[in-house]
Symmetry: C2
Subunit: 244 residues, 2 copies
Amino acid sequence: MHTTALVLFSGGQDSTTCLALALSKYERVETIAFDYRQRHRVELECRLNVLREIRAQFPQWALKLGQDHLLDLAVLGEVSDTSLTRDTAFKMEQSGLPNTFVPGRNLLFLTLAAAVAYRRDLQVIVTGVCETDFSGYPDCRDDTMKAMQLALSLGMDKRFLIETPLMWIDKAATWDMAERLGGPPLVNLIIEHTHTCYLGDRTHRQAWGYGCGACPACELRERGYARFRALQVPTPVQARSPMP
Amino acid sequence: MHTTALVLFSGGQDSTTCLALALSKYERVETIAFDYRQRHRVELECRLNVLREIRAQFPQWALKLGQDHLLDLAVLGEVSDTSLTRDTAFKMEQSGLPNTFVPGRNLLFLTLAAAVAYRRDLQVIVTGVCETDFSGYPDCRDDTMKAMQLALSLGMDKRFLIETPLMWIDKAATWDMAERLGGPPLVNLIIEHTHTCYLGDRTHRQAWGYGCGACPACELRERGYARFRALQVPTPVQARSPMP
């Protein structure tokens, strides 16, 4: 039924795991990301490193891995700069960074991804959004994804499937999924090459990868990794998170 | 219930009529448009002229007319340039212009409009999309608008109303709506200052406005205007299209 996919691939742990899943399931997989002048621009470098390493280390996946699309979304900054009437806009995020959150940013990503998927004739849009992590952004929720699937399918007169393999699992289960898909080499690739840290720190090497180790994104990744490793040794296979 | 609105305002006949409708119903109205390097860039000048004339000629509306937002959507060109696998992309449009149609373009406009509406605390998004004119783009259909209202409201965790006053009426009824809202001065303002022509022609003045008179957009506007004028004189009020 579904044989082709476009993965929203930011170069983080989650989207790398989604990419591995898509490569394990589909025959042709392309990737897309958005340059919206993110603070953590190092992500955009990391994602190319991840793609390079996947091609080098996983030859069976390299055959399926197609074009990478990077779209310039400077417009996000314009929306952020729009003079504001809502207090929320002036709040600082937990990490201490200024809140340049654009409401519904993820809807914009999905809409552009669908436009590219339409043009490239790709059926499935894979995204690593997740209701179980701390963010709780409404544009990452399951209801939103399902409404978007309808809106995009109707609006482009082509049926899309929005696949969200991480929606209901935690970070430990995400590590576990990576290991099931690509074994220790994929876990090591994720540790070495993906980026998560809000501060863009690539100098401090932790057990679970590079990062400051203190921002919420690092904490989440660290806790997930610790739980993944703790569960790994003594727990029988059937007690681990099932594959979706 | 609803007191504030953001109008997708391109500077054409349809969106000018929508703007007049919003100004007649709501207490605070803002406008938004997108610069996507459109061939008919004259639209972007016309829209400023329309806003200026509305402020000058309709003082009761001028008090309600707030900020105008123009977002740079260069990304649309990038999606168009994406190398393509679908034949549709290479087709020429009826007008003879190259088809740089981006599937779901209107979904992108609505998503960005909703982000601005969120930040500006505006409740209603008004758009002049219409199922009765010739285009039939799926991203202008009623089903799509209703699915988008759900997706945007869920994705931003704020209820939006997408209002489509022209969805089921034809161009003659759109002229008629303008006359009911703002009388002959608004009809004349639309003739003089709005832009419709695909070729960006502002040199040939027709009875119904400026334009080449030959492209599909001009033809549609001309036919609608002729029917509006023909219906106007002899027809009793109750036989004319009702206001939405």
